[in-house]
Structures are given as structure tokens and as C-alpha cells.
Symmetry: C2
Subunit: 690 residues, 2 copies
């Protein structure tokens, strides 16, 4: 009795973990990300899993340092209260990025390794394509990283590969279906759909559902009239309306636009199509927003891939592939457990685009982590882009889907970005920073804090307390740091704290961790910005005005007609996922600070029905090609390091070495490999970016 | 001392495993493959690993039932004598397949679970594409299967995904390089290749190797003349000679032929290209033939992707991506451990095409297994197609690459196939078998044994003893079975044994196991069929005459010119990998039995330089499109089940259920899923096959 009661307690109520933290001995100057990662030996992942209260049958180990966590845990701990939920967002960044991932990792290192508070970081999985898996950035950086970095960046546990497989299966089904409908009679199609197996013909349950949808109340395949057979057998997809693209996790510019179906076997039914980067697949957004296998299946089935010739949406379910997609994704749905440099737990799960999707890691990882940390613990997750985009989507899309209530927002700022907003010269990837950024300049900082103030106000719209985390660079002066913290608090931040995690790890973020703990204890008055039942236009206008500070919005005729169509199709009550530049609060990347009096142009509107959002494209089409038309190109910019020259330089210095081609020891096999990825190959494949 | 000595013994010399075998309770009639698989609970893979002598740090667990085995084991056990090496091959099959995989699995179940002899089965990983991961066949069948079947068929540990990533990275590098060379000056290219990093310009080691290859003896980037800069910077790839295709593990007919590079950013440099199925990538053949990470890197670098404008081969190394490819493949190189229905160990590793590649699982899996079973143990592996193709390639290509010496060949025959060779009516997928096949017909069997005799003689060319395994079907009569065994022995088989593994598991193959053990104890007089130093034409002729029984070969002008080119390029001394139909000993699928007096037409010749073979295409091009031009189409035929209606029916009966859409319980999450893969979707996507 006593022992089973004790076990019950242990299972239901998480006390502080007895976590064996890994010690850091930070070097100065700070070595490259890869050197730091490789210098630390991670704990065996099963040890970590045990330390944080996972049962042996709740994990599936992948190698020594990664494990998938089964969703059954949510059932076991369903009566356990959730921990505190903290979002890391940022001010409007320079093209170089301001360090949200490092703050996220640094904060959990501080909470768990230094304050002995249970905490979890939940991060996005990066695309492998643009950099062949060898890059810094998404895993954090400096002494605030997820390790091992190469496992994080290469394949992980195959989730993106599963998405690729599922996405492309659906793509193949679309074109093949059109071909068959174009080349076969109603009867032939029907005989294939409902074949006679050992003399018996029966509808499958997915087909019965389709009959119901079509208003045909019959269950005997032989009872359908000719007209009903035709209605049942033909999806009548209009090829010009296909929005479902093939994907690859490779940055292959020659697949941006192509003509497919040119083999004689395809009988002339060729059409123009494109490949997107795998993480741009709607299936990635579905993975990020789902909360169970059953829900994922529903969402996958709802995905709209085209319209039929009557303008009605055609879904994956109509194509009959929902089950196959779900089976391919059955392992990908389980979050991936890894650890920080200091041995604290991290989930890496899902990595949807931050523009055409919502840019947040998975709901499931957050939910599981919130149970594992226990009521007094913390889950820290990150939203892509500036707070005006990533945080707004986190609240209005992700929290709406999950039902989770955030307790605090950490808003990451840098002196560099603030100086830019204050009127400093433009910051460009690959070009050395101007003097204004490397020397003290109080006036620029003071003027630039308008952006910080605005982003704080945006967070406050949602009723959540804001802690400003100033990510300190070596060149920042005491006066600059003090000024930012002072102005942030004056603008309504709960607190504002300088952070030094990059150079010394969690120890450098202890003050931030204390401030977050205090803010989160105050209780949240979280509210959504808009009611999803509002018309699509109203929801867009609300975001544009309340968040971006626009005077109004302006819809192109195309956008208006799409809105009408989606509304008529019954998709009007979905939340909005704005596809806007992250380099300005407005639609114009060069408008820094807090732009005013602008009209936000909505050039087009698209929909991810399975993921569950409408995404308006902001700006003229010609401004957006690299964001929307060529996600790979954009993806490169974002992940590759061309907007983060430091990580690129770190990469080339470390991986390519002083001699630009150095030995990279693969610890797993104790074989030394010449990593022959010359700078040219990076540069060559991606030089369309510069 | 004593204890360390004992440990040494245990580590160096494998005694009989103390393996906990899983009990079978075979049902009659035999349920579907999936039902059988799901009714058995596999051992935890770490338990299995320990039972067979793997140390804890030699495995990387993937979930509960799969693990990767590290290559470091080969170093630890390098002084351990190898076990016996047994190949399972087959007679010329009907389009329905004759059961080589089930015999392979049944044989190890008998050896280990019933005779207490250490044994390992080494199998190929099947493509996931053609059937969305839901098919039978490659995992064995009936009570001779690898479990869990769905893990085997879905993703496994991601090896094929890694191949896809590496293959497509190389493809992207080719087109991008051509674009850059077409649009940039020598100087601009050179500056990208050898950039100034912090004011310093240096060649990487891969670039120094390239300089050496070009005969430029300089190490200072600034010392090159203009002409040398141009020579160094330009690969001058001739786009019309590109043989490297993109791949996907999806059966997507619209990607068979397409025009890529149509986005404005590609500046008009569009060209026609195609996608192949992922397992057709040369990287898969490299994975199957390599014996270490260093060797894999060399092979990947040697892969020829095109010719330059002077007709010289351009390699992956010339493109500078060797290291990146190797890094992407660093985990894929480790064999995957699974188990049979009776709990005996299996490696599943690599699955190259059996036509354009050699159709055998990996050298590394065999090498590791041969150490693990110990000197008295057995490793059983399978070769694709009939013995005239799969076995010939196993000996001349795989054994040549590995240096391993086979001890015995198991030749699988069925009464059904023999009747076909004896003049029985044609056997067609999807059409019920004619009476001749379901009723006793001694004459047809007697006449058909000519094919069996010929295949026995082929094996004897290599000096290896042959045991005939007659895979018994329910309709086979005692007289038929006895006749086959009698004629097989008269033809020189060491033994001939009826097998019942499909219906009762290893117990049904004990007699075969005893025969194999005895044959293998006799010592092998293995020899290659030809000397690789012979001219390409002579090697082709030797195979055609000695193996197929052709009178001679006839080269098309294209084939002759390719042979001349490869010889001139220095590739004349590679072994030969014939791309011939498996449905006849000749090039004509309808010529059954032992065709005579035919001239084997060689329509074209291609090369996989990294894998290390030349592959002549046999037959006129118009006969081969589905084999060579459309590997996906062929792949479908091969793996999908259209040539194995039983597995297709099993699939549809089990997965789709009596109602053609049934519930498929995903044990991992205890969630019941409607598997909505209707018959139509299979049929629809693949109906170009029938």
C-alpha cells in the first residue's frame, strides 16, 4: 500500500527533478558553436528521460542522444496540473537575427541548472535542405545550445522525411486521379473504386462518408444510378486550381518551376508545378498544431488541395489517402527529446514556416512538457520572427488550437537592433557593421526603443506580462544596457534584464530566470485579439491596426475574391496567419522603428484548411516572390546564415577550419572524415541570395 | 585474470547463443502476413542484441524493435573467424515470385530456433514509395517473416530518406554549377571557389587534389595563370550527358519526365530531367557495396554524374560535395537489426535495384553478421531475381567487392514455376491460375525441371554446392514433390528438400537447415566467372554464354561506343551488372525453360562508377522502358504485388478487411485508425501496370 501510494505520488505529482546537470567551463573568446557542442558529452537520453519522470515504456530511444516520447504520457498525467508557459519572442530584428533561440536555451539552463526549477525548452526542428545539415543557428549558439548539434541538424528522428513522404504521396494522388478521370469512363473508374473482390462489391467506410457528403443515401454499390456513379467516381479537379505542391528537404533552385507529366505514359496531361522546401508543407503545420493521432488524421483529411470545376474544395479525404498519410506520420507525431549543453531537457518538434505558416514548434511537445515539469515548473518555447508576427500567431493560432494559456512573454532585444530602429545605418548580411554599432551611441539606442515599446504594447494586448531580455553583445556599453532596461520598464515591461548566456551559459541568464519566475507567478489575464467568428476581412484589419499600427488595410481584387470564396466554402471562421516581412512592423522592410499612417496592402489570400488558418499575403506580389513563390529561396535566407553572417563565419571557420577544409571527427564511428564542403559549394548553391 | 580471460573469450569467440526464441502457434488456414506479424510480440531489441553478443555501446536503438549496429564491432572482432555464408537464389520465376525471402527467413528460424545453431538473415530494405509502406513481400511471409512488419516497411531507421537527401543534394549541385558557369566570368567563379576569408585565400584539400588532377602544381591561389584559373574553376559539364537523376521514395508517374529550371531566376537554362525511385540511386548501390565509412566516402566521390565538353567524366568529387554526401549517410551505413517471428536476428540493410544495380543487401551487414554468428554459425542472404541474374551478380560483384567466400547456395523452386517452364499455360498476375497448376501434372513438372537443372549448373560454375529448396504449395502432390527432389539431385544438387516454412515456420525448414549445414561443412571451391581485367565485351560475352546459354552477343552501335568511352576513361576493369529480364534465361520474357541458340542483344551500356560496375542493357530499348527508363514503373511491378497477387490479396484482405476498409490498430499509440487506403488508391496510382 505504502509503496504503491508512493509510486502514485511520484507519477502524479512532479517534485523537483533530481537532475544531474552537465558542468560548463566557458572559454573566452567563445569558440564556434560546433566546437562548443562537440566539447560537451551529453547524458544518455534514457538517463535524462528517467530523471524527468518518463517511464521506460513512454520513450522510444533513437541512438544515444535522442528519444521520441509517446503520447500515452498525456493520458497518464491528465490530472497533473500544467507548469508555467513562457513564450520567447523578439523585437523587429535586423537581418542578422537577435538571438531568440539562444535566449530560450539559456533561460532553461538558468532555471534548471542554476535555480533548480524544473524546466523544458520546446524548439523547432530546422530544415536540413538549405545547408546540408551543417549549420548553426536553430540549435541555439555559444554556451546556450542543444546538443549534439549535428544530430539536431541532420535527419533528427526523420520527422521531416516522413512529412516529405506524406506530402508527395498526396501530390502523386492528385495528378494521377486527374489523369484517370480524363482517360476513363465513369464505369471503369467506378469499377476501380469499388472493385469486386471474390465476387463481392462493398463500399469502404471512407466511401460511405463520401456518399453521404454527396447526398447519396445508398450502401449497395449496385444500386447507384448512372448519374450517381459519375458523381461518386469523379472529383473533377480543376488542374489550374491545384495548390498542393511537391516538396523536398533540399534547396534545389531548378525545381522552383517546372513542367511535369511529359512522359508518353502521361498522355499529354502535363502541367506546370513546383517543389517547395519540405517544412513549407501544410503537413508540417498540421503536425505543429495537432494534439492527438485522431486529430492529426482529421486535419490531414481536411487539407484542401484544389477546387473542382464547380469551385468546391477538394480534400485529401476526397482523394482517399487520409489513412495512408496518417500511417506515414504515426511516428513523426511523437516529440523528440534532446538536451541543452547543461543537460536540461529539450523537445525539438515540428518546424513550420514562420510566414506562410505560424512558425511555432508543436502543441504536443508543449503539452507533454507542461505535464512533465509539474505545476511549479516552466516550459519555454519560441515564436519565429518579431513579436508582431510570431507572437501574434502563437497567441491567436497556436494557443487557440491548444487551449493552453501563456503566463509570460520574454521579449528579446539587442542594442544593435535598437540602434537600427533609432536611425542607424542599414545592417546587411555579409557587410561589416558600421561604427555606430560597435561604439557607444546613446541617442540611437534611445530613439530605437520605440520599436521595443511597441512590441511590449503588442504583448500587453493579449494580457500577458512581458520581460525584456537584452541579449548583450561584447560591444554594448553599460550606459546603453542601462538605458534599454530603464526605457523597457517605463514602457510597461514587468522587468528588463541583460543576458549573458551566449558567453557563459545559464549562469548568464539567472537574473532573467528570476524575473520570469516572478512574472509568471502573478497569474495571466490572457485573451485573444479577435473572435474567429468575425468576417475574414475584420480579422485581418484588427491585426493590421492593433498589432502593426496600420491605418487600414487595402485588399486587391484577387484577395477579395479569395476571401469571398473561402467564406462561401465555409472556411470564414478560421484564424488568420499573416504572411508579412519580419523586418518591419509594416509591409515595407526598410521602414524601421514604428511606422505610422500606412495602409497594409493584402495582395492575395490563401488557406491551409487542415492546419486551420487563412493566410493573407501582405504587400505587392513582386515584393514577395522570395517569401511565397520561392519558399526555398526564403528558407535559405532564413536558416542558411546569409542573414546571420556570424553563424556562417563560425561554420566556415570551424567546419572548414583555418584551411577552409578541416577534419571533422564523427564521434559515432571514431572515423575522421574530411568534410569537403568547400565554401564554394555553400556559396555556389546559394549565391542567388546575395 | 581469470575473469578478464573469460571476458576475452566471450568477446572473441562466440559460443552458441543462449537465445530466447519466440514460440509459434501456427494457425490453419494461414492468416494474412499482417495478422501473423501483429499476433507476435517481438523481444526488445536491446535484449536480442545482448543475446547475440553485441556490447551496449555497439548498438544504437531506434524505438523498441530496431537498432543500428556500429561498425566498431568489426574492429573488436577482427580476429574472430567468419561463420558460414549461404546465398538464397531462385530458378527463373513466374511473375508471381517463388518465395526466396520466405525461404531465407524460414531457414534461419530453423537453424537457430530449432537446431540451436547461431544464424543471421541479411535482407534488403524495400522501397516505401510504391505502396505507401503498406505491403507484404519483402519482409517474408506466412510464418517466416521479419517483425514488426510495419516497422520493416515504413521508414525503418531512415536509410532510404538519407539516400534521397544525399542524391538530391548532388543533383542540385550539378544544375546549379552549370548555371553559375554559364552566367559568371572565370574570375567571379574563382573568387567564389577560393574566397578571401579575413584577407586570406587558401585552397582546401579537395581543391588541392583537383589542382593535382589538372596537372597544376601550385598551392598559392594568387599564383595561378588566367588559363589555370579557368581550368580550375570550370567543370564545363555538358548538360546533355547528365546521367544523375533526382529521386523520391514515392511512386509519382508525373515526375517520370519533366522540364526543370523554368523559373525566371534560372535564366532560361531549363532542361529535361526525371525522377527515379530512391532505391535506384547509385548511392543505394554504394551503400550496399561499401565496407567502411572511408570507403563509402571514396565511392561517393568517384560517382560519375556527367561528361564534360571534352568527354571526360565529371564526378561528385569534382563538384566538391563528397564530404556533404558522406555526412548525410553517416548513420545509414550502420546495418539495422530486427528479428524473425521466432525471435532470431535479422539485418535489414540496403536495397539496390536488381536490374540496374546488383540487387543484394549490404556487404557490411553480411560482414558483421559473419562475425556475430561465430565460426560454427550461418549467415543467410538473398539475391534478387533468378540465379542467372541475382546469384551471378552476388558472386561476381558483391563477393568480389567484399572478399567474402560463399559456402553454399540454396536454390528456391516451386512446382508452379517448374510447370510453367515445362510448357504450362502462361501465369499472369491478377488472373486465376489454370487447372494445370492446381492439379497434379507430372509431365509438366518433369519437363520444367530443365530450368532447375540449368540454374544448378550455373551455381556450379562458381564452385559452390547447391541445395534445392522446394517451396511447397498446398496444391502440390507427393509425386510432384518427390520428382523435383529426385531430378534436382540427379542434376548435381547436393540435396533437394521440400520446405513448409510458410505454413508452420522454422519447423517446416529443419530438413533444409540440416542439408545446408552439411553442404557448408564440405568446404567451398568458390571461383569468379571472369577476370575483371578482361575487356568489357569479353566479360559480357562470358556471362551471356556461360550463364544465360546464349550463342553470342550483339552490340548496338550505341553500346559499342559507350564501351569504347568507358574503356578510354579507365573504367574497363569493372565487373558487369547485366540489366536483363528475370522472367527468362534469355532476353525474351516469354521464352521459358532453357532457351537455346539465341543472340543476346546489348542495346546500351551504362556505368555506376562509384558503386563499381558497368551495366549493359539487354534487349531492344522498346522492350525495356519499364525496367530502365521508368524505374518507378518497374519498381511497382516488382515490389507492389502486381507480380505477387497473393500478397496483394493478403494486403487487401487484411488491411482493407472484408469490408475493404478495416481498422488497423497502431499498437504504438493504442489508437485505432481507419486505414483509408482504398483499393482504388492502390489500383489508381498503379493501374498503368496492368
Amino acid at each position: 500500500m505504502v509503496s504503491s501510494g508512493r509510486r502514485w505520488l511520484r507519477e502524479q505529482q512532479h517534485a523537483r527533478w533530481r537532475l544531474h546537470c552537465l558542468k560548463l567551463q566557458p572559454l573566452s573568446p567563445v569558440p564556434s558553436d560546433l566546437e562548443i557542442s562537440r566539447a560537451q558529452t551529453p547524458k544518455a537520453v534514457d538517463v535524462l528521460a528517467k530523471e524527468i519522470g518518463l517511464l521506460a515504456d513512454e520513450i522510444e530511444i533513437y541512438g544515444k542522444s535522442k528519444a521520441k516520447v509517446r503520447l500515452s504520457l498525456l493520458e497518464r498525467l491528465k490530472d497533473q496540473a500544467d507548469g508555467k508557459y513562457v513564450l520567447v519572442a523578439g523585437i523587429t530584428p535586423t537581418p542578422l537575427g537577435e538571438g531568440k533561440s539562444t535566449v530560450t536555451v539559456g533561460l532553461v539552463q538558468a532555471l534548471t541548472a542554476h535555480l533548480n526549477i524544473n524546466s523544458f525548452a520546446c524548439l523547432r526542428q530546422p530544415s536540413q535542405g538549405p545547408t546540408f545539415g551543417v549549420k548553426g543557428g536553430a540549435a541555439g549558439g555559444g554556451y546556450a545550445q542543444v546538443i549534439p548539434m549535428e544530430e539536431f541538424n541532420l535527419h533528427l528522428t526523420g520527422d521531416i522525411h516522413a512529412i516529405t513522404a506524406a506530402n508527395n504521396l498526396l501530390a502523386a494522388a492528385i495528378d494521377t486521379r486527374i489523369l484517370h478521370e480524363n482517360t476513363q469512363t465513369d464505369k471503369a473508374l467506378y469499377n476501380r473504386l469499388v472493385p469486386s473482390v471474390n465476387g463481392v462489391r462493398e463500399f469502404s467506410s471512407i466511401q460511405l462518408a463520401r456518399l453521404k457528403k454527396l447526398g447519396i443515401n445508398k450502401t449497395d454499390p449496385s444500386a447507384l444510378t448512372e448519374e450517381e456513379v459519375s458523381k461518386f467516381a469523379r472529383l473533377n479537379i480543376d488542374p489550374s486550381t491545384i495548390t498542393w505542391q511537391r516538396v523536398l528537404d533540399t534547396n534545389d533552385r531548378f525545381l522552383r518551376k517546372m513542367t511535369i507529366g511529359q512522359a508518353p505514359t502521361e498522355k499529354g496531361y502535363s502541367r506546370q508545378a513546383q517543389f517547395d522546401i519540405a517544412v513549407a508543407s501544410e503537413i508540417m503545420a498540421v503536425l505543429a498544431l495537432t494534439d492527438s493521432l485522431a486529430d492529426m488524421k482529421e486535419r490531414l483529411g481536411r487539407m484542401v488541395v484544389a477546387s473542382d470545376k464547380d469551385g468546391q474544395p477538394v480534400t485529401a479525404e476526397d482523394l482517399g489517402v487520409t489513412g495512408a498519410l496518417t500511417v506515414l506520420m504515426k511516428d513523426a507525431i511523437k516529440p523528440n527529446l534532446m538536451q541543452t549543453l547543461e543537460g536540461t531537457p529539450v523537445f525539438v518538434h515540428a518546424g513550420p514556416f514562420a510566414n506562410i505558416a505560424h512558425g511555432n514548434s508543436s502543441v504536443l511537445a508543449d503539452k507533454i512538457a507542461l505535464k512533465l515539469v509539474g505545476q511549479e515548473g516552466f516550459v519555454v518555447t519560441e515564436a519565429g520572427f518579431g513579436a508582431d508576427i510570431g507572437m501574434e500567431k502563437f497567441f491567436n493560432i497556436k494557443c487557440r488550437a491548444s487551449g493552453l494559456v501563456p503566463n509570460a512573454v520574454v521579449l528579446v532585444a539587442t542594442v544593435r537592433a535598437l540602434k537600427m530602429h533609432g536611425g542607424g545605418p542599414s545592417v546587411t548580411a555579409g557587410v561589416p557593421l558600421k561604427r555606430e554599432y560597435t561604439e557607444e551611441n546613446i541617442q540611437l539606442v534611445a530613439d530605437g526603443c520605440c520599436n521595443l515599446q511597441k512590441q511590449i504594447q503588442i504583448a500587453q494586448l493579449f494580457g500577458v506580462p512581458v520581460i525584456v531580455a537584452l541579449n548583450v553583445f561584447k560591444t554594448d556599453t553599460r550606459a546603453e544596457i542601462d538605458l534599454v532596461c530603464e526605457l523597457a520598464k517605463r514602457a510597461g515591461a514587468f522587468d528588463a534584464v541583460p543576458c549573458y548566456h551566449w558567453s557563459i551559459g545559464g549562469k548568464g541568464t539567472v537574473e532573467l530566470a528570476r524575473a520570469v519566475r516572478e512574472a509568471a507567478s502573478k497569474g495571466s489575464r490572457f485573451r485573444f485579439l479577435y473572435d474567429v467568428q468575425l468576417p475574414i476581412v475584420e480579422k485581418i484589419r484588427t491585426i493590421a491596426q492593433a498589432v502593426y499600427g496600420a491605418k487600414d488595410i487595402e485588399l486587391s481584387p484577387e484577395a477579395q475574391s479569395k476571401i469571398d470564396r473561402y467564406t462561401q466554402q465555409g472556411f470564414g471562421n478560421l484564424p488568420i496567419c499573416m504572411a508579412k516581412t519580419h523586418l518591419s512592423l509594416s509591409h515595407q522592410p526598410d521602414k524601421k522603428g514604428v511606422p505610422r499612417d500606412f495602409i497594409l496592402p493584402i495582395s492575395d489570400v490563401r488557406a491551409s484548411i487542415g492546419a486551420g488558418f487563412i493566410y493573407p499575403l501582405v504587400g505587392t506580389v513582386s515584393e514577395l516572390p522570395c517569401y511565397i513563390m520561392f519558399p526555398k529561396l526564403f528558407q535559405s535566407l532564413w536558416f542558411m546564415g546569409f542573414n546571420k553572417p556570424n553563424s556562417l563565419l563560425n561554420f566556415s571557420k570551424t567546419v572548414l577550419g583555418q584551411k577552409k577544409s578541416s577534419r571533422w571527427s564523427l564521434s559515432s564511428d571514431h572515423v575522421v572524415l574530411i568534410l569537403s564542403l568547400s565554401f564554394y559549394n555553400l556559396q555556389g548553391l546559394f549565391n542567388h541570395l546575395v
